[in-house]
Amino acid sequence: MMQLSHAWLVDENPETRFQAGAGQTYRMVRALLRNPLAVVGLVIIIGLLIVAAFAPVLAPYSPIESNLGARLLAPSADHWMGTDELGRDILSRIIHGARITLMIVLLVAVISAPVGLLVGTVAGYFGGWVDRVLMGLTDVFLSMPKLILALAFVAALGPGIENAVIAIAITTWPVYARIARAETLTFRNAEFISAIQMQGASHTRVILRHIMPLCLSSTIVRVTLDMAGIILTAAGLGFLGLGAQPPLPEWGAMISSGRAFILDQWWVATMPGFAIVIVSLGFCLFGDGLRDVLDPRNRTR
């Protein structure tokens, strides 16, 4: 039986592939933990995950049921963050809102990263006019401000979370396509690609089995870095009334409804604002830390 010790993990001559892999992970985690800001980011993200997972348990009140007798109460022991214009507990709504935020972020990542990866690798692999057409299309999307483009799409598709996710995904894929294309170009003419072609592999197989796996790591890092932006765009759409619809406790929409009382009942708009700031800051810090750890060129010592 092997023992999970520090010495075993940092052994320069690992005996098994499992040990080498575990050691590599261990070193990466330690490098990440040495960066205090990345730890802060990680703690925020883990907190968000826990809150989202146990929302019904953690939330003291229902996020949707209104209680008109308790309208616009200031923060107190009963309502830590106060109540909104319909007497709903703001803390409970923020806790449930974590689920919506997380869902939007994950869905956008799951939709846009593969699309970008596919477009980028195909463009890089075939080159020529395929490249020009696909990259031209990518440039068209890149040249428009993200929020405004998403706004246009939601306006066309109709408001709602699903449509907001689709709209945000449409605005984020071009970045991944560019990265994947650049990455593909670096080993497009590598010998091992020629070798597999000489064996009669089809273009589809070369792209899916040999090129995409090699582009994956840089795309993943980029997705983590982009998550803060996705949260902000989602909140922006919610604020404009084009994202999640009431009574869903979406943070952006909550700020929007609190705007009317911002001078007298500041907490209604401020509390969800804090939530957005903290969570997107968490993704930013963690993404930065992750990039430093994964990119050996940035290692300074």
Binding site: E191, F192, A195, Q197, M198, Q199, G200, P213
Partner: protein, 276 residues
């Protein structure tokens, strides 16, 4: 009937002042024999090999009066039929195993991949075939090597793996483009012996592209010498010493031998050859 017939093969790339021809109308035939193509860098020997597999990258252009492989016209074959030929009936071993194996794929999976698109074997049968082919290239512990990544094997072993990958479907024609130039001298002989053994056993046609005259003379039946995109000499390997073309003679003369006392080795007189 010959396995491969090539007549007037030309490969050109567009340049600033019109097209530059790198292969200038060569013709040869290949039966089930071992043919060596030798020549200096830039003489067009690799381009000849690649154009047989139709793997010249754009904007390169290939033309030929006739290019037939076992009765199939390689010039007009559809891309799909061409893919079915590559790997299954003709294959190519490349120069450096370090670059010709996918760094992030296990060796066994990489070899098995050929089987997955050229055959209908299931996963277990594929694995068995891969292990057999690794054994055929004298890898003593195929089970272990199956699970390794390319960076974990030596150059010689990498090249043997490459050969295993290329012969697993027992092609009729194998093209080896400088198969040993990235290897140590001691490993070179080993790799060549394995290739030689496979060729004799399966009766495939082999084209070895190289700049090593001695090696080619030893392992091939027939030799073509290429210079500046043309075939300047074609002879039986045993007749190489009686070569007539000044380029071949020059090459032979500039090779040092162990039991000689020349102060200077002669250099090719290029003005006489009329080349570059």
């Amino acid at each position: 009937m010959s396995l491969l017939t090539i007549e007037n093969l030309r490969v050109s790339f567009p340049g600033e002042q019109g097209a530059i021809e790198v292969v200038k109308g060569i013709s040869f035939e290949l039966g089930r024999e071992r043919l060596g193509i030798v020549g200096e860098s830039g003489s067009g020997k690799s381009m000849t090999g690649r154009s047989i597999l139709r793997l010249i990258e754009k904007p390169g252009k290939v033309t030929a009066d006739r290019m037939e492989f076992d009765g199939l016209d390689l010039m007009t074959l559809s891309n799909k039929r061409m893919r079915a030929l590559r790997g299954a009936r003709m294959s190519m071993v490349m120069q450096d195993p370090k670059f010709s194996l996918n760094p992030v794929m296990r060796i066994g999976d990489q070899i098995a991949e050929v089987l997955s698109f050229h055959s209908t074997l299931n996963a277990r049968e594929r694995r068995k075939r891969v292990l057999e082919s690794l054994e055929a290239v004298r890898i003593t512990d195929p089970e272990r090597v199956y699970k390794l990544y390319p960076h974990e094997v030596s150059g010689g072993m990498g090249q043997r793996i490459m050969i295993a990958m290329m012969v697993i479907l027992e092609p009729d024609l194998m093209i080896a483009d400088e198969p040993t130039s990235a290897l140590d001298v001691s490993v070179q002989a080993q790799v060549l012996d394995i290739m030689d053994d496979l060729v004799t056993r399966t009766g495939m046609g082999l084209i070895i592209i190289s700049h090593d005259l001695n090696m080619v003379a030893r392992y091939c039946d027939r030799i073509l010498v290429m210079f500046n995109g043309e075939i300047v000499e074609s002879c039986q390997a045993s007749e190489l010493a009686n070569a007539r073309h000044p380029y071949t003679q020059g090459l032979l003369a500039s090779m040092p031998t162990l039991d000689e006392h020349r102060d200077r080795l002669p250099v090719l007189d290029r003005t006489q050859l009329g080349g570059v």
